[in-house]
Symmetry: C2
Subunit: 337 residues, 2 copies
DNA sequence: ACATCAAGGGAAACCGCTTCCCCACGCACT
DNA sequence: AGTGCGTGGGGAAGCGGTTTCCCTTGATGT
């Protein structure tokens, strides 16, 4: 006999026998079915609360074919971006009585597909953040995951709601801002090579150089960590550029710290921009000019797109592009005369 | 007919009929039961992979009485501490094939109990971070939640594995550090009144004053946010103390920012300590002296305690106390002559 | 007073899987 | 050749709910 617990939990049968009705009636009452006589309903409710009966969600899930749970696959839970998405998603879903199951793929792209499938089987839908997965694999996986919401990815063959942050647009605006301040020699401190969002920034910068042919732009290998930024300070200091676009805020803060140790003043000697507008970007010295990504909105909207699909059984929802909002702060200033 | 999907998923019956065996046999094969003839097992496996059959976890859960999922209740997912615990827990649990369901109580203590109960019914166990819940309520709730692991709380009546960070010890050491630097007038910028960890710090400070009767210690109402710290700058600046113990790093950073706007130098004019050693504490200007809490270990150990209970069906595990490690950095210095 | 009908609740099927029970078959032993 | 026994696999009973189907009951109408 499977699943035997030492102290059996109270089930629907207990309530039924206590109230002197069939368990079908108990079920009807618990689900607000109004075809039950008021007196009997009251009796059932009394018995239920007396026994502290709560329907077993697993049993319900099996019968109903839904779990009231959605899964989210993230590449790395220590990344503030995904934390914020998770949080927004979780809160929004909770408002509608849904829960969130998390799956951390630890940046291993082969895990992403497996975890997503696993999660889908346990949940009513999946929110997928899979920056490392190949396009081909994503196309193949997407239909098996429906209802699915993609973050920072899109599909061609299957229409899937996608929420993508327009990193290219953001970095262009930051670059234009620096040009507006008189900077003519810029440098981009790159992110991780394999990162899809780094590629998007590079594309944006291509457009930028096409638009501003008289501005010089060079690329310096960086990374997405504080230390990566810190260690690039020498390369940045000696590159001759006066405006530095850094991959993200974390690396920018590292760079800021490294430059300050070398006695290079920001923004007097060098202007610096970050990306993401993470919570502490406004509190650095000087505060970081950056591009704000509305990530908690993103989690919220991810849930809304998911709910649409669950309720209407229809995925026909367009891709949402989120243009970052430029936050002008103290780390950028006029070019030195 | 409930749960009808438009495209029915492949079930155990499909595999059974394809392999020409009963679904009982398919189940046996899928679960590695060795009493099945090797030929038949191979045929079943072939059919399963042909149909891409994956057992429905909900069905399994109902039959097995376990979900291979644990729940975690956190008061606020935007708090870096809980993010780190969640992350450590999720990764450790994943290693053993378990998943994590999250429940954010949004700092509402009445929600904590409900969410925990909900989570418990869906999961094989619950990790509970409930700083706001009353002791009485916790005592009453704990037995209904078994297997349960508590974070930063303990129970008297029911033995429950607890992981508690020794905030009292940490704040005492920070205070002693300030005394060692010559400070004789200290102030504690408090956290939220209802917060259990704030109470622990207050207790630690009581011991401290008992030990150092010649040191003056005053209390200034603060909070756990950057803004709360920022807004306390005036009160701090005018209180006459030279060493300030702040509830946590976030508030300390706010205070740091506020003091810097007022031209008060740290640590020359005022020494300042935080608590938590959050990732950016080492990167403020000056870097924050703080007490490091080994939070990712905490998530890891939480899973280990949970696993013990699930496997051995025995909760007899002691409370683990985590002494914070003091990180001496630039925000504290000798008292001004 | 009898036929008709609506409403309400019980029995049973079902969701998908695991596992117990038991039968059938094959092998070995007498 | 008959009996005993071990083994493998099919049938069926759960796990804990929801929902369909149908029968009972009471009310209403003529």
């Amino acid at each position: 006999m499977p699943g035997r617990r030492n102290t059996r939990r109270v089930g629907i049968a207990d309530v039924a026998s206590m109230a002197g009705v069939s368990h079908a009636t108990v079920s009807r009452v618990m689900n607000g079915n109004t075809t039950v006589d008021a007196d009997i309903a009251a009796r059932v409710r009394a018995a239920a609360s007396e026994l502290k009966y709560k329907p077993n969600p697993v049993g319900r899930s099996l019968a109903l074919g839904k779990t009231d749970t959605i899964g989210i696959v993230v590449p790395d839970l220590s990344n503030p971006t995904f934390q914020a998405i998770l949080r927004g998603l979780s809160i929004a879903a909770a408002r509608d009585g849904y829960r969130v199951l998390i799956a951390d793929s630890s940046e291993v792209s082969s895990e992403e597909a497996i975890l997503a499938g696993e999660a889908r089987r346990r949940c009513d839908g999946v929110v997928l953040c899979a920056p490392r997965m190949s396009d081909a694999e994503l196309e193949e996986l997407a239909p098996t995951l429906y209802p699915l919401v993609l973050i920072n990815r899109t599909t061609e063959s299957v229409p899937t709601p996608s929420l993508v942050v327009d990193y290219g647009q953001g970095i262009q605006e930051l670059a234009a801002h620096l040009v507006g301040l008189g900077h003519r020699k810029l440098a981009y401190l790159t992110g991780p090579d394999r990162s899809a969002s780094n590629v998007q920034r590079l594309r944006g910068l291509e457009k930028f150089t096409a638009e501003f042919p008289n501005v010089e732009l060079q690329f310096i290998p960086g990374g997405n960590t504080f230390d990566a930024g810190f260690e690039s300070s020498d390369a940045v200091a000696s590159c001759g550029a006066t405006g530095i676009l850094v991959f993200n805020d974390v690396a920018a803060m590292g760079l800021l710290s490294g430059l300050s140790e070398r006695g290079i003043r920001v923004p007097e000697d060098l202007s610096l921009t970050g990306f993401d507008d993470m919570p502490f970007a406004r509190y650095t010295m000087p505060p970081l000019t950056t591009a704000a990504v509305p990530i908690s909105e993103l989690g919220d909207l991810a849930w809304r797109r998911m709910r649409e699909q669950i309720q209407t059984n229809d995925a026909a929802s367009p891709t949402n592009y989120f243009p970052p909002r430029i936050e002008l702060r103290g780390s950028t200033g006029p070019v030195k005369a």
